[in-house]
């Protein structure tokens, strides 16, 4: 059973922000796929929850001013089938496709996935390579934080207790950009990631690639971008040797730990293998074979 709590049911965003302003102990509840599980396990005991899953203001997906803008309460299932996401956030759409399972995807939200601050959040690596920012609103303030800076540790974010994540946005990648997401779990559906990887790059007309971005999940206290590997690849031709070295750098940049799903050494090693594979495929425009 769930512990006792009060549940606020705002009907509009301003009403929600008002409620959060009145108390600093209001925990927003969107899809509930993490929060309710934690409550039941007594891992978290907020006094007051506020249901924001139904707020229409948080459920839009648009493209404007060169940005893709996704409401924080947009569900993973919505991301999966949204044509704008498929076009401007391939890796995110791929992550949505392999996210947990269909029932969870119908409830879990993009904002919730980030707000929870899990190192293994599957939406994070794609949003990191897309250069996403998190919009935070309180009754009186509004700020935008790069996702890189938003999650600060395991289950820790910079969100102030009175702030609500309202949107996630990222600059629309330039023409010729491609991105890909790959997750490794211990089964083929509904598995927490042993590690997850998103890679994005821009294919120039010359055939070379630039603007390479690599992000990893479940291998550090937060999902991370691997600048060392990105910098190494920047601008140069993606030869097999260069890719191999970058993959090595990516692996070295992580602070993988061992847990019930796999050892640190295994994670580090597979990062190398998969970064290499994804970069090679992206550079060549081929796809990983599915079995």
């Amino acid at each position: 059973m769930l512990p006792e709590f009060e549940l606020l049911m705002p009907r509009t965003l301003p009403e929600a922000l008002e409620m959060m302003d009145e108390s600093s102990t209001v925990m927003p509840l969107a899809g509930g796929t993490n929060l309710l599980v934690d409550l039941r396990g007594r891992l978290s005991r907020p006094q007051t929850l506020m249901n924001i899953g139904g707020l229409v203001e948080l459920r839009g997906v648009h493209v404007e001013d060169g940005y893709a803008d996704v409401g924080s309460a947009v569900t993973i299932a919505d991301l999966k089938r949204n044509v704008l996401i498929a076009k401007h956030g391939q890796a995110l759409q791929q992550a949505a496709t392999v996210f947990a399972n269909p029932l969870i995807r119908n409830r879990a939200t993009i904002g919730g996935n980030l707000a929870y601050g899990s190192p293994a959040a599957d939406a994070a690596p794609p949003l990191l390579v897309l250069g996403a920012k998190v919009e935070l609103l309180s009754k009186d303030t509004k700020r935008t934080v790069p996702l890189k800076e938003f999650i600060t540790g395991v289950r820790k974010t910079v969100r102030h207790p009175k702030e609500l994540i309202t949107a996630i946005r990222w600059p629309i990648p330039p023409e010729g950009s491609v991105s890909v997401f790959r997750k490794l779990g211990l089964r083929k559906a509904d598995a927490i990631s042993v590690l997850s990887i998103a890679v994005m790059l821009h294919r120039k007309d010359t055939g070379d690639c630039d603007q390479v971005r690599i992000a990893l999940g479940a291998v550090a206290p937060t999902p991370i971008r691997v600048a060392a590997a990105e910098d190494f690849l920047d601008g140069g031709p993606l030869t097999p040797e260069v890719i191999a070295q970058a993959a090595q750098l990516a692996s070295e940049a992580t602070q993988a730990i061992g847990d019930i799903r796999g050892s640190a050494a295994y994670r580090k090693r597979v990062i190398t293998a998969l970064v290499r594979r994804l970069l090679t495929n992206l550079a060549k425009g081929t796809k990983e074979k599915k079995h």
Partner: protein, 775 residues
């Protein structure tokens, strides 16, 4: 790996009208529309809600236990600790049988008394007006432990000086086989192959967690509605609670899966104690986490094979050593170990054999029955060993096995002659043929592999248990049929099979049969739904009872038609003259005639399995099981050598089931067994560290989803030689047994190296590949 098998003898099976047809199971539609009521769905007026307080320590003295605050909480009806109980033990011997030996002192107490031996051991019970209050009361229970040294590894537990879980030592059970001269056999070999295989704890993970409701009726009978594989536990429950046997009635419900995990007592005694204490109905339903904590596990085994073989492929002798971790209490560990021991060398002729097996107590979660019951663990080892020997001899794995396969009429490891058909070669050949050629993948990182396993698994109980079953069949005056039989229905179609037998014998359609089952007081006791025994045992009892009814009907009809009973038959709700089917009488009319004459239209029959004496413990030579099912399973995998990920691409099971009662249901058993076997091979492991389960829910303990499995092709052979009704053998457990080793063999075939430990995680795959590179 394909060689044409010899043509099978075509058994002339008697023509049956209902048996063998893909009929809708009698329980299927109710479940499909959500109308079937499960144990957790019952509520009673004035009902209390129960919770169990459990140990957080793997090995400790209970220094102080204080339940005063919990008792004082408003809405708490009762809190029970060991102090409040008769000296109740949770009896863990084979239920339903009497006079067996066991280590009484090491049986689990109902509630921990002075100390605890594993994390999750029950210590106190609470019953309260609401579940929320019961949960709150659990939080108010105060306990202080004095931690004791624990032991968490069976190898450590056998060493001198190890903490002793139960006096006098940690050896829960041991068995040995001595046949021929293993030393001499090994000495005469051209080649000796030795391997050690390890398997982990597994959880049954039935989707229905344990649940029940109990109440006292106006005869002071404690009624317990519960999902159990064993209604005969009513005796043990009565004993633990301190009431006469006839004051406990277990009313089993349709079970939401069991696989052996609902074979031992789960919630029953707790419910009985609380309802007796409060006089009110009590409900207790485990959460998933509590289920994983509270019920038994599949035994981890460490199995070493040392096998000698001639260059021509003939096995000359073997020494096998088996060690199982029984966890903190023995439960069925001695018997699981016995099954493993008896099948330790598989379905092969090995004249010179030594087997030593031991089950060892630790402070880990307790292990007991799980589909395959030791036979599955044995197969994981012997079938990998067979592939390793074939490899060492550079022989085809099937050709090598063919040289050593048992044949019909041969004797197995314990000298028991196999009288039923042994179609191993044909099964393996057919399974491999159905698997076909390896798929071609043009990717250097991906390695493809195929493998198979052939196994033997008993059905029916150990014969020295003197197993019996009873069933009652009656015809109503409108010609409809009632079957009453105590057999619990696990979801595998146990009740349906009994109905099918009655329908077949009495010439009605399946929908004309109604069944009542799984009630320890009002349905004839049929024994446990375990050991793949219900079709064999209760099927034969039902067949016998139905034939008795048939005889009465035919005799009366014979009088009516002035014909001999032999010239009459029953079909389509009629009795008719075989040579002139136009002359018929409805069963309804015949039944009324019989009733008017005062004839007996309801019969209770008892079926007794062949009895045997206990085997000589010095060599275990003799007859032990009524029969075995022989099986093959073939698997194709793709292994990603860069990430270690394994994908099962093809799966084929081929089993001689003797007689397929319902081909859809048999296929379902084979496919379900495959799923569990693939889970066993690839992902399932209850990870335990220092006695603490690190995979406490279905988020961490992973079982296969629909995306992890191919469709298993089921090839059903029917030799008609089983000891079940109409020549049926058992398929429940045999469906699982060959699967995990087949997967392991396919993976070894793909990557060229053997991984000796299950599960075959991606990490282990990479480690094994490293090993080859270094080697």
């Amino acid at each position: 790996m394909t060689a044409k098998g010899k043509a099978l003898p075509q058994p002339a099976l008697p023509l049956l009208r209902q048996v063998g047809r893909p009929l809708r199971r009698v329980d299927a539609l109710g479940k499909a529309v959500g109308a079937t009521v499960y144990a957790g769905d019952f509520t009673m007026p004035n009902m209390l809600h129960a919770k169990v307080f459990r140990s957080s320590e793997p090995s400790a003295h209970i220094k102080q236990l204080n339940v005063n605050k919990a008792r004082a909480l408003a809405g708490v009806a009762c809190v029970l600790t060991a102090d409040d109980l008769p000296d109740g033990k949770l009896i863990t011997d084979m239920p339903g049988q009497t006079g067996q030996e066991r280590r009484k002192e090491s049986d689990a107490p109902v509630l921990a008394t002075r100390g605890v031996r594993f994390v999750g051991e029950p210590i106190a019970l609470v019953a309260a007006e609401t579940l929320a209050i019961a949960e709150r009361a659990i939080e108010l229970i105060e306990i202080e432990y004095d931690a004791l040294p624990g032991v968490f590894d069976p190898l450590e537990a056998m060493k001198p000086g190890a903490p002793i879980i139960h006096e006098p030592d940690n050896i829960v059970s041991s068995w040995k086989i001595r046949k021929g001269n293993a030393e001499a056999g090994l000495a005469s070999a051209d080649l000796i192959v030795e391997n050690t295989f390890r398997m982990p704890f597994l959880d049954h993970s039935y989707i229905e967690p344990e649940a029940g409701v109990a109440w006292m009726d106006d005869q002071d009978v404690i009624n317990i509605r519960v999902c159990t594989q064993v209604v005969e536990h009513f005796r043990s429950i009565a004993q633990a609670v301190g009431v006469p046997h006839n004051k406990v009635r277990v009313r089993g419900t349709m079970i939401g899966g069991g696989f052996g995990g609902k074979e031992d007592i789960t919630v029953e005694i707790f419910l009985a104690l609380l309802t007796k204490e409060t006089g009110r109905p009590v409900r207790l339903a485990y959460t998933r986490e509590e289920s994983i904590l509270a019920h038994s596990k599949r035994h981890p085994f460490i199995i070493t094979h040392r096998t000698g073989v001639k260059n021509n492929g003939r096995i000359t002798g073997a020494k096998i050593n088996m060690i199982s971790d029984s966890g903190a209490y023995p439960y069925l560990s001695p018997y699981v170990l016995l099954y493993a021991t008896v099948t330790s060398c598989g379905p092969y002729r090995i004249e010179n054999l030594t087997v030593d097996s031991v089950s060892v107590a630790t402070n880990n979660p307790f292990a007991s029955a799980f589909r395959g019951f030791g036979g599955a663990q044995a197969a994981v080892a012997y079938e990998q060993q067979m592939d390793e020997m074939a490899k060492a001899l550079a022989m085809d794995p099937l050709e090598f096995r063919k040289i050593n396969y048992l044949k019909t009429g041969d004797s197995n490891a314990i000298g028991q002659q196999i009288k039923s058909a042994v179609w191993l070669e044909e099964e393996a050949t057919q399974a491999l043929a159905a698997l076909g050629k390896k798929e071609n993948i043009s990717d250097d990182a991906i390695k493809m592999g195929q493998g198979f396993a052939t196994t033997m698994q008993s059905y029916g109980r150990i014969m020295w248990f003197h197993d019996t079953s009873r069933s009652w069949v009656g015809i109503e005056q409108d010609g409809t049929i009632v079957v009453r039989c105590g057999a619990p229905d696990l979801g595998a179609g146990q009740a349906n099979s009994l109905c099918l037998i009655a329908a077949e014998v009495l010439g009605v359609s399946l929908t004309d049969v109604t069944f009542y089952n799984s009630d320890s007081a009002v349905t004839p006791l049929a024994g446990t739904t375990t050991a793949t025994r219900q079709l064999y045992m209760s099927g034969n009892a039902t067949l016998k009872a139905a034939k008795m009814v048939r005889e009465v009907l035919l005799d009366r009809a014979a009088e009516h038609f002035r014909e001999k009973p032999n010239n009459l038959d029953l079909a389509e709700n009629k009795v008719f003259i075989k040579s002139d089917p136009q002359q018929w009488l409805s069963l309804a009319d015949l039944s009324k005639m019989c009733a008017a004459d005062g004839l007996k239209l309801q019969h209770l029959a008892l079926f007794a399995a062949p009895f045997a004496d206990k085997l000589n413990p010095e060599n275990l030579q003799g007859d032990i099981f009524p029969d075995f099912t022989f099986s093959a399973h073939a698997i194709e995998v793709a292994v990603d050598t860069k990430t270690g990920e394994i994908t099962v691409l093809k799966s084929v099971g081929c089993h001689d089931v003797g007689r397929a009662f319902n081909p859809i249901a048999v296929e379902g058993q084979i496919q379900g067994g495959s799923a569990q076997g693939i889970g066993y091979a690839l992902m399932e492991e209850v990870q335990v560290k220092d006695g603490v389960i690190r995979t406490p829910s279905l988020s961490e303990y992973l079982i296969p989803t629909a995306k992890d499995l191919p469709t298993t092709k089921a090839i059903i052979l029917e030799s008609g030689t089983g000891v079940g009704p109409f020549g049926a053998k058992g398929i429940g457990e045999p469906a699982l047994t060959p699967v995990a080793p087949a997967v392991a063999n396919a993976v070894a075939n793909a990557i060229g190296v053997r991984i000796h430990n299950l599960p075959l995680t991606p990490e282990r795959v990479l480690a094994a590949l490293d090993h080859t590179k270094k080697g």
